[in-house]
Symmetry: C3
């Protein structure tokens, strides 16, 4: 069922070539633009308030990534979220480094609070930090394991009416009614900068064509990353192979490789 959803979403994305507006960090702008092009979407990188309303009127989704943050960019991000709300566009938030500084944690929360339609994509420690103290009480030792952030993700789903993607060795895609586990990817992927940011950008591309869970993006990146790593001699060639693999990805490959598991039960977050 997950595989079918992903295959259909990818097919629709390539037909519609959605425009995705990105306000992202300096480090990954090139990568994420290339990943969006490789999968079949159309990236726009723009940040000026003077053109944000126009740009969001014809974009399919807004991706906000706080990787290289400062007060000027925060103001632009919050303004863009307002415009996304006015134009009823979904916001995909990447809370990079959330928990590493007060600035990042507070900014991520402000963005999450203000977006009317929201998907959050982060790693375990970012999701836990975004959810706040309750979740952190589970202990720092588990921060590298994405399942350690499941409680926090469910809290965010409820608090912000968001869908949440926790990326890690296993990706968890958490929404109000379900949790889906995706088990593709490769251990070398974290050695390429901005792999999570790429997932966030792809999540924006799929959201722009109506796949708002985050499942398709995580599935597509996991499978493409796995293929890329098989032929890589290190993180340099992995990064390049990944763009090639995203470009070549098709239904047959997805059917053969996608490893997903559907958890139908709703997590109880009352105890958090």
């Amino acid at each position: 069922m997950v595989t079918e959803l992903v295959i259909q979403a990818l097919s629709r994305l390539r037909q519609q070539k959605p425009l995705v507006l990105n306000i992202t960090n300096y480090v990954v702008m090139n990568n994420t633009a290339n990943a969006l092009l490789a999968i079949g979407a159309s990236p726009i990188m723009a940040h000026s308030k003077q053109e944000m309303a126009e740009m969001l009127s014809f974009s399919g989704a807004l991706v906000i990534n706080i990787g290289t943050l400062d007060s000027v960019w925060i103001s632009r991000m919050l303004f863009a979220v307002e415009q996304a709300n006015i134009h009823e566009k979904i916001v995909v938030l990447d809370p990079v480094g959330c928990g590493a500084s007060t600035l990042r944690t507070e900014t991520a929360r402000q963005i999450a609070q203000r977006a009317d339609k929201l998907i959050i994509r982060g790693n375990a420690s970012e999701i836990i930090a975004l959810a706040g103290e309750q979740a952190q009480s589970k202990g720092v030792d588990a921060l590298d394991r994405s399942d350690a952030a499941l409680g926090a993700a469910n809290f965010l789903v409820k608090e912000y009416k968001a869908n949440v993607v926790i990326s890690g060795e296993t990706d968890y895609v958490v929404s109000k009614n379900s949790t889906v586990m995706l088990n593709n990817g490769h251990a070398m992927m974290p050695y390429v900068t901005g792999m999570g940011c790429t997932l966030t950008a792809l999540t924006g591309a799929f959201a722009a064509i109506g796949e708002e869970t985050g499942i398709a993006a995580a599935a597509v990146l996991g499978v493409a990353g796995e293929i890329a790593a098989e032929h890589a001699r290190g993180p340099g060639s992995l990064q390049i192979n990944l763009l090639d693999a995203l470009y070549q990805l098709d239904a047959t490959t997805l059917s053969q490789r996608l490893k997903s598991e559907f958890q139908s039960e709703i997590k109880d977050v009352a105890s958090l």
Copy 2:
């Protein structure tokens, strides 16, 4: 004749290793610096007004690319154009996203108006938007075809005393007395971000050694892109192969591959 011009220009570029000053967008800074190095030029990325006069005193050309625009950078761009005029350096303008927002259209026109010596490099829709309403009346369906922008390009040649390069499946290099068509390149090239920006940067490198039509840059990128695509498994390897191909490009390869056509007639723009 075109082939000879390109071969001689490339030879001169590699001898002179011209310095090219770039005020460009965050997405492509790395790519365009690498393309300039690969072809044999010397990139400088600088934007502060405090060093612009000094930098332009010893640079061979100024490249301005409005891909990630805001009011702070607009002010820097206009100041740099002033300095380029004072030091009698050519300005190469890339009006990225011209037509997509009022900010971009107006900024591109301001830069075009103020530069004393100007080359404009854009895709069909950017060139049409820069030229204004008259050209746009040709209809939006044709926007993806570079020949649809020929009228607009001729208008810009006259209006700004500029040379104009329209890039697309066929590249058109339009100047006061001639239009040259270049038919190299590959359909996969638009799947790499900043391919047009790379052409703009290379145009600056050739302008710095006195080839101010834009022909050599378009020819060199078209041939190198074609070679790069032949060995590419997707846009990731295409981007890397392109730098290798620019680095390896020689007279023999250019002679064998370059497909150009010379249109001697001057376009009538009175009817625009």
Copy 3:
């Protein structure tokens, strides 16, 4: 002796995975983050004053690169140096373009003056410009040769109590008591943008685990670059191969390839 130092430092780096805080230029942010990940360190790219104290409290070193400078970033850099001093962290300075503009020369000197613990990494002309008129009197013809900057480097060692790395065909690692020459690398490396910036970032990673001379970083990049170039068809594949080579680098390869020479005599700088 040098080889052993490098092997031990690399082993320690991979065990400790040090956090390296980078305030660097837009052109190389992606490259340097990837190089840090490939060698086994953990990059943080952050520049806001609002999070600098927090970020430096848990980072192992601060890398400052002035490649794309303006007054806003200068202020951030100087603030970060203050915070690095407070948290007793080493500062690694890359004076990109020092000498090409007054802004760069003065900013580089300000940073050098203020940092309590300092390593400087530049090419010959940057090191000579940073040292000032005395050194420059040796003549500009020699600027491309790193040995022409030895006097300047010794001056900087004394003036700022810094260790200095001059990179070039031969790298010179100059400290109070010794000068080490490293003879790896490849002639194609300068055709990739930001190769020096990568060396600076790696210098920060090794400084963060206590190797504060700069030897290990220069050795590791020289050997990896050499390996990368052997399989490269041009600067595109060189850049990618380099990340793969950094990732795969091991003690055996270092033992076999590293070419170093130890100069025990202290340079006389009185005559400068």
